[in-house]
Amino acid sequence: MQVIRDDGSLDPKLDPGLSIDEVVALYKAMVRTRIVDDRLERTQRQGRIAFHVGSLGEEAAIVGAAAALRDRDWIVPCYREVGALLWRGYPLQQYVDHMYGNAGDPVRGRQMPDHTFSRAKRYLAVSAPIGTQIPHAVGLAMAIKKRELDECVGVFFGDGATSSNDFHAAMNFAGVFQPPVLFLCRNNGFAISLPVERQTATRTLAEKAAAYRIPAARVDGNDALAVVAAVREGVQRAANGGGPTFIELLTYRLGGHSTSDDPTVYRSDEEVEAWRNNDPLPRLRKHIERCKVWSDELDADWRAVCEREVKECVRHAEEKPASELSAMFTDVYAELPWHLREQQAQALRGPRAGAEEGES
């Protein structure tokens, strides 16, 4: 499924009918996500943050899906979807603070970079184990159904995650219990180094949904408006009591798996180049330029705004002290039990407590 044609015009039969302001907002959010990504990757290369896992090339799939969900809907992320969280207005400073694990980090330095969450934004917590979030999304949606609320859940995961235990369990439960959940499968071609062709024998991932009797769509995940259209249809189905929807978002991971990865070892430059020509940003830009609401100048201005913003955030983040040592012991349980109180006291009177962090 594809909505934006090569010349930037839209296929009228599939056009989700966003206002042009909405489309521009979507484009701007995608650009902002890319710029934040770029900056964090450079910051990592300079050794100022430890790690980053980005969404280069997948912005349409991520921000487009977020744009199609309603504010009251829940997002259950994998780990590349901070663009969806920023779309919902999550403060960029807070995200960058998290990347630094500093005193402003909402998770108090307990997690690797890019492990975001926000109750206010109805955005569940990133978790490293692949696939585990998918049953959470189904359970969330089962709760919504039980409570008869007009909400739904969109859960992101990758092509690799379709091999997980959790994918199978979650899809099957969704088929059986029919809760309002959208399975948003970012097929970006790889699970680290494993190409999707060796991840599974099927030709598409969408066809897996039939094994659970869940309706499925396969869309051009680099076409932001196609993503919006498909996800809106899923939201509609969920809202009408039609249960789950599976959407394969066909895209490509232009960057490495994470800053720890070297993708040149397992894929060719030509392949990457071909996909670079299918970059979701220029594709959407072509459309708004054709509509005469966007221009080189506006583009440059917006990029500059985003650059400044993220640089500022990085600067602030670097000024903040590290997260507190005592925070290591809280939130294991609602209340601190005796053994953690003891251990906390022990750690705090340790010889290095309060000292600067060395390199590990």
Partner: protein, 324 residues
Amino acid sequence: MTEMNLVQAIQSALRGALREDENVLLMGEDIGALGGVFRVTQGLREEFGPDRVLDAPLSETGILGTAIGMALHGLRPVSEIQFADFIFPGFDQLVSEAAKYRYRTAGEFHVPMVVRTPYGGGIRGGQYHSQSPEALFIHTPGLKVVCPSNPYDAKGLLLDAIADDDPVLFFEPKRVYRAVKMEVPETTYRVPLGEAKVVRPGEKITCLAWGAMLYEAFAAAEEVAEQGVDVEVIDLRTLWPLDLETIVSSVKKTGRVVIVHEAPRTCGFGGELVALIVEHAFLYLEAPPVRVTGWDTPFPLTHEREYLPLAHRIVPALLETAGY
């Protein structure tokens, strides 16, 4: 007050929780029309409907994973795992997700769920219907682990576990399900997590046990009492977080310890208890703490009574410890 066995007391707790809190919901394999393979949930689907008593497909990953999602939305799911031996396909959801959700969101999200599961030997269940995996969960920060021994405690502890804001593993001694009866109130009273109970005061040895083995410890204590050895038996009730105070003050009094559990000895909870006692009461110890446990083999069938740390194995341990 009604006379109830363990199954009835647990059912009474579930019924009370379902009645009083719309957010409570049960899910598990065969818990609906069948009422569970041990009939713990019998009648509940009829009373509360299939939206609150859910028959799950055969997937522990699904049962535990979706329960986490429900809990994140504010429900209080109580999952049943048909036998503790079958918790392992869903192990990842418990140790990687339920246990760490609060920590990794600095308290913004939490997972108030209970996982009920029958554990232990005594019904000729062999390798896969007899295991006692509590140590694996005690080793996992973020989980609470409860193991009642009698109907009264079971009901009160289960109600407290359901009200608890953290994930609780609730191990039910299947050997006791129908073996013990006692008076249990109809009300939804609570027995707070984290409190052990001295079930037999004594001066000479402290004997720690829980669940089904509590009765064996007690029987052994009675037996050696005739030979003048006065054993204090403590029912741990909540395994973690542990009521260390009750244990340590008993050990400071007796100076001798025997620990009983069904799980294999090596890296079982008994080892941890020995270590804690040594750390907190070393100078009071007059004999080495002794463990009477399941052997380090898979759980066998025919020789189940020789595998389990029944009274006939506890008695000599008590006598040796007394005479050390």
